[in-house]
């Protein structure tokens, strides 16, 4: 357990644990400045006319829930509040239980009707091949909806959707990795020229700068992006306030953890060079 510098790693774990837990208990929410990528994400949705259909793809699982679920909640609020219809899909098998729970909770607040205002098509296996098939034709990709197992022609929303992303004005994906945003850009953005927005984990966010603003209209990067986005959505949506405050408080924890890690890097390097000089 003892490292080359003589410090048992369990001390680091302990300090980290104490830091996280104490800040979780004592931390307070604080407003963050909003960056241009988040503002662009928000503005793109705001600019959509009422009645527009948006495809919302949940491409995540519980491991990335802390980062992506708040974005997902905020996005549903913003879409439904603006009377935008939502076609919900997923290329990750673990996502549908979350998406259903969120729609069950949020849709009644805006008096939305299933089948008319939103439809859940559920998980589609096949990764980027599945994305290609969804883009090619939603009807050939899905025989029935995921909630009521009804044929798609019995759902009014689907009457306005045609092959090749016809009728769909925007694609939004909450992406935790593969398959996710990079595959959607290749399968949908490039081929059908559908505008794309995304929310991603911190690990994936650096990949997105190369695509903005040509292939990506905007993006939410990690917990930071989620917090900034919830601040924007929260201005007009009271239900988001709790989630926004929780995220803002978590950013304080993340702030201190980042500073702690930077300090560890500095101290580790100082000890390394001191040790090297002593050995010489």
């Amino acid at each position: 357990m003892a490292s080359a510098t003589g410090l048992d790693r369990r001390w680091i774990f302990l300090v980290m644990g104490v830091l996280v837990v104490s800040l979780y208990v004592l931390g307070e929410a604080a407003e963050m400045p909003v960056n241009e990528y988040v503002q662009s994400y928000y503005d793109t949705i705001e600019a959509l006319p009422e009645g527009t259909i948006v495809m919302l793809s949940a491409d995540f699982d519980p491991a990335s829930m802390a980062e992506l679920l708040p974005m997902y909640q905020g996005t549903i609020h913003q879409l439904l509040r603006n009377n935008i219809r939502v076609l919900n899909v997923s290329t990750w098998p673990a996502a549908p239980p979350y998406t259903r729970a969120e729609f069950d909770r949020i849709a009644p607040q805006y008096e939305k009707v299933y089948g008319v205002d939103w439809v859940e098509l559920g998980f589609k296996p096949g990764d980027d091949v599945a994305m290609g098939q969804i883009g090619q034709s939603v009807r050939s990709a899905y025989a029935k909806d995921d909630r009521n197992l009804k044929p798609l022609n019995e759902l009014p929303l689907l009457n306005d959707v045609s092959a090749g992303f016809g009728g769909i004005s925007l694609l939004i994906t909450m992406s935790a990795g593969y398959p996710g945003i990079l595959e959607w850009i290749a399968q949908a953005g490039g081929r059908y020229e559908v505008p794309i927005l995304t929310g991603t984990t911190a690990v994936q966010t650096p990949d997105l700068y190369a695509y903005y603003p040509s292939q990506l209209e905007g993006f939410l990067g990690a917990a930071t992006g989620a917090t900034q986005y919830l601040q924007l959505v929260g201005e007009q949506t009271e239900d988001v306030h709790e989630s926004r405050d929780r995220n803002q408080a978590r950013m304080l924890i993340q702030s201190w953890v980042h500073i702690f890690i930077v300090l560890l890097i500095v101290v580790g390097n100082v000890l390394y060079f001191v040790g090297k000089r002593s050995a010489a």
Binding site: M16, A30, V129, A202, H258, I261, V262, N269, Y272
Partner: protein, 213 residues
């Protein structure tokens, strides 16, 4: 024939998909539609193959008294237990029916979700430990990596930005929008050209590594 038929199928499918990409109308789209449907069916079949292989290996380890045999048994129990509950709920077998409180959702929410979230959150602790023990400025490249990493970590959070008087977020924006984006674009274009070349070789029957050749 064992080699020729798979190569012929690959060439035909590759040409059909390419044709459909550049000809978005008529029969090409019908063929494309069909091939994509086959692709997703094959993908689903691969799940079954994966399960079969997992069961085979796990049973072998359990019967041979492998040190991990209890974990393997638990894995099989969860695999078939969850599968059984899910299928039973869908078909209404054994009095288990679809309702507001699905048992598979309970298993998912109470077992799977906390376990996976916990495993992922442990990363923070390992990163902290690795930061102290492994991130060393041993060379110019490593030093640049360390400095860039520190700037990104500080610039990404409100407190880090306050401590540096707003410098960290400005440097972060510069690093991400210029240095990172330029590097990413170069990698993306390079990878795309590589993919194109490999795709062409497969479609032309020159690349046969997928046949284990």
């Amino acid at each position: 024939m064992k080699r020729e038929i798979p190569i012929l199928l690959t060439v035909l499918c590759g040409l059909a998909i390419t044709w459909a990409f550049f000809s978005p109308y008529g029969p090409s789209q019908a063929v494309n539609d069909e091939l994509l449907a086959w692709g997703t069916v094959l993908f689903s079949v691969a799940f079954l193959l994966g399960i079969g292989n997992l069961v085979r290996i796990s049973l072998k380890q359990i019967s041979s008294g492998h040190p991990d045999r209890y974990y393997k048994a638990l894995l099989l129990l969860m695999l078939f237990g969850y599968l059984g509950v899910g299928i039973s709920e869908i078909h209404g077998w054994f009095g288990i029916t679809e309702g507001d409180n699905l048992r598979r959702d309970w298993i998912y929410n109470r077992i799977f979700q906390p376990l996976q979230a916990t495993m992922f959150s442990l990363l923070a602790f390992y990163i902290a430990s690795a930061a102290f023990r492994a991130f060393r400025a041993r060379s110019m490249e490593a030093t640049l990596l360390l400095v860039a990493g520190a700037i990104v970590m500080l610039g990404q959070v409100p407190l880090g930005d306050q401590i540096t008087g707003g410098l960290a977020s400005r440097w972060l924006a510069f690093l991400m929008s210029y240095i990172n984006a330029a590097g990413q674009k170069a990698i993306i274009v390079g990878a795309a050209l590589g993919t194109l070349a490999t795709g062409l070789r497969i479609v032309l029957g020159l690349e046969r590594s997928y046949l284990s050749e």
